[in-house]
Subunit: 320 residues, 2 copies
C-alpha cells in the first residue's frame, strides 16, 4: 500500500445508489473526483441524476458546485466492472449482514489490493460483515451523519482486523473531500454521534410523552439554546467555560464545574426518564407531531430546515 | 393587573448583580428599557460597568447596541428603593432557599402589586422560594440559558400558586426583549433544557471516561454533526424528516421513523452508560480536558467559542 498521509485519491466507486449513496456521489463530484456509481436498480442513471439536481443548490451555496460532470460521472450496474479500477469504494447498501458479507467478498475479489473498502454501515460491525473475506485489513466503516454531502462528520470505525494504515488513509480521503473524520478507538454500537443523539432524544420523548412540554416546544427549546451552543462549541468546552476563569484558590474552568456542579448534574441523571415506544407513547408522539407539523408539507418543512442548516454552515465555514 | 397580551414594559429592576444579573442588565438596556441594578456588593457600579463593556461588542454584532445609558441605568444598593417603581423584577441571586425566601417577602412588600417577580433560579422551585409570601401569584421562574444576553431561550416555569396571567405577562416581557420564552406546563427539576443537556452529557462522560473517544474528539463530533443539526431544527423535526416523504403504503415522516427505527433506538437506549463522578472518573476527565485545552488560556477559548456563537446567531437571525 502507498504511504500515508500523502496519499491522494482520484477515482471512487459509490456502491448502492439510494439516498445516502447519491449524497456521497454528489459530495465526491463536488470535490473533483472521478465517480462510478453502481447499483442494480433499473432506474439507476435517472434516479441519481435527479438526486444530484436536488442536492446541487446546497453545494453551490457552500461554494462547492458539482462542476462539469462529463467524463467524471459513470453509471455501471455491473459491480465487478464498477470497482475494478478505483482507489476507494464507498458502500451504502442496506444493513443486512448476509448481503453485506457477500458484497465484501465480491469487492475483495474485484478490486486492486490497495483499494480502500469503506462502508456507510450504521448498525452492523465491520468485523462481522468482513468476516468472510480472506484479508479484511483494508475494510473500515466510514459512517456519515445524514446527509453526507452537507454535515461534516464522518465516523471512521475499525473492525478487529482493520489495519492502522486503512484508518489513516480513510481519514485522509474524507479530509480531501472536506469532511471532518473522527477515528474511533474501537467498535461500539451506535458509534458516538448516534449514541449522544439518542441519549438526548430519550429525555425528549420522556418530556413530551409525559406532558411536560409539547413536541413543538421541545424542538424550540433545542434550537433556541442547546443547538446554538453546540454548533459553536461541544458540551465539554461549554461546561469548561461555565466554570469561569478561576482566581486564587479557585481552579475555575472544568475542574470548578465538576467540583461545584457535578453533584447536581449527577442528581439530575437519576431523575431522567426511561420511556419505551409502547403503543400509548407512539400514539401520544404522533398526535403531538401532527399538532406541530400537521398543516405543512414534508417538502416545505425540509426546505425550511435546510435553509437554516445552510445558513449555519456558511456562517461557520471561515472558522473551520 | 393589566390585561395581557398588550402589556408593554419600560422599567425593570435587576436584583443580584453577578455574571447572570449583569448579562440580563445588558440585554434589557439593549432593548431600550430603564434598568435599576441592585446588589449590596461594594463594587456594584464598577463591576457592572466593566461587565457591560465586555458584553457590548456581542450586542453590537447582533444589531442591538446598548445605546445611550444616561438616565436609563441606575445603581441602587438599597433593595426597597430599587424595586419601588418598576414593572418587572428579574432576580438572580444564588439558589439558597432561606435567602431567596427572605428576598421574595421583601420584594412583595416593596413592589407595587402588579409588578412581575421573575427569578433566574435554576434549581429551586418557585413554589418553595415564594412559600412565605402572602400572595405568590405574580411570581414565576424566568430561567435563562447561559448567557442571557445572547442565547434566546428563557424557560418560564410556574409555581403552584402562579397565576396564568403572570405566565402570559412574563412571556410578553421576554418577547419584548428579543427572547424566545417557553412556558412549561408544570414544575420539573432541571426544567427542559438542562435535562436534555444533561442526558447527552451523561453519555458524553461515559464515552470519554471509558476511552472510546478523547474529550476533544467528542466535542468535535458534536460541533460537526448534532450541534449543526439542532441549531437548524430540533430532534423531533430531524427524525420526522429522516422518515422520508412517504408514498403509497408508507406514511413517511415521523411515523415511519418510529415504526422502522424505533426498535433500534430503544435498543441503543439500553446500552447507554450510567457513569458517576467518582474520583477516578473525575481524574480521567480532568486529564482529558487538560490534553484538549491545556495550552490555551480561558479567555482565548471563550473568545473563539463566542465568535462562532455570534456567527451562528447572526446567520439564523433573519429566519427567526
Amino acid at each position: 500500500m502507498p504511504t500515508s498521509p500523502s496519499r491522494r485519491f482520484d477515482r471512487v466507486a459509490v456502491v448502492g445508489a439510494g439516498r445516502i449513496g447519491s449524497s456521497w456521489a454528489a459530495l465526491f463530484l463536488a470535490h473533483g473526483l472521478h465517480v462510478t456509481v453502481s447499483d442494480p436498480r433499473p432506474d439507476l442513471e435517472e434516479y441519481v441524476t435527479a438526486q444530484l439536481a436536488v442536492l446541487a443548490p446546497a453545494l453551490d451555496a457552500l461554494g462547492r458546485p458539482l462542476g462539469n460532470l462529463a467524463g467524471r460521472l459513470v453509471f455501471e450496474a455491473d459491480l465487478e466492472r464498477a470497482v475494478a479500477d478505483v482507489e476507494v469504494v464507498q458502500e451504502s447498501v442496506p444493513d443486512e449482514l448476509a448481503r453485506k458479507q457477500d458484497l465484501f467478498v465480491r469487492l475483495e475479489a474485484a478490486t486492486r489490493p490497495e483499494t480502500l473498502l469503506l462502508s456507510s454501515a450504521s448498525v452492523l460491525r465491520a468485523t462481522d460483515f468482513s468476516a468472510r473475506m480472506a484479508a479484511p485489513g483494508r475494510v473500515a466503516i466510514g459512517h456519515p451523519f445524514d446527509p453526507p454531502h452537507l454535515i461534516p462528520l464522518v465516523e471512521v470505525v475499525p473492525g478487529e482486523h482493520t489495519e492502522a494504515r486503512t484508518l489513516e488513509d480513510a481519514a485522509a480521503f474524507y479530509r480531501q473531500v472536506g469532511k471532518q473524520p473522527l477515528v474511533l478507538r474501537r467498535e461500539i454500537p451506535g458509534f458516538v454521534a448516534n449514541r449522544l443523539q439518542s441519549a438526548l432524544f430519550r429525555e425528549a420523548v420522556h418530556l413530551v410523552s409525559t406532558g411536560v412540554v409539547s413536541l413543538q416546544d421541545l424542538d424550540t427549546v433545542v434550537t433556541s439554546s442547546i443547538g446554538l451552543r453546540w454548533a459553536a462549541g461541544g458540551p465539554f468546552l461549554t461546561f469548561s467555560l461555565a466554570g469561569g476563569p478561576g482566581c486564587p484558590g479557585d481552579p475555575g474552568g472544568f475542574e470548578r464545574f465538576l467540583r461545584q456542579l457535578g453533584p447536581a448534574v449527577e442528581q439530575l441523571w437519576q431523575l431522567l426518564g426511561r420511556p419505551a415506544f409502547d403503543e400509548a407513547t407512539i400514539a401520544t408522539l404522533l398526535a403531538e407531531e401532527k399538532a406541530a407539523h400537521g398543516g405543512r408539507a414534508y417538502a416545505e418543512l425540509g426546505a425550511d430546515r435546510d435553509r437554516g442548516q445552510l445558513a449555519v454552515m456558511t456562517a461557520l465555514r471561515p472558522a473551520g
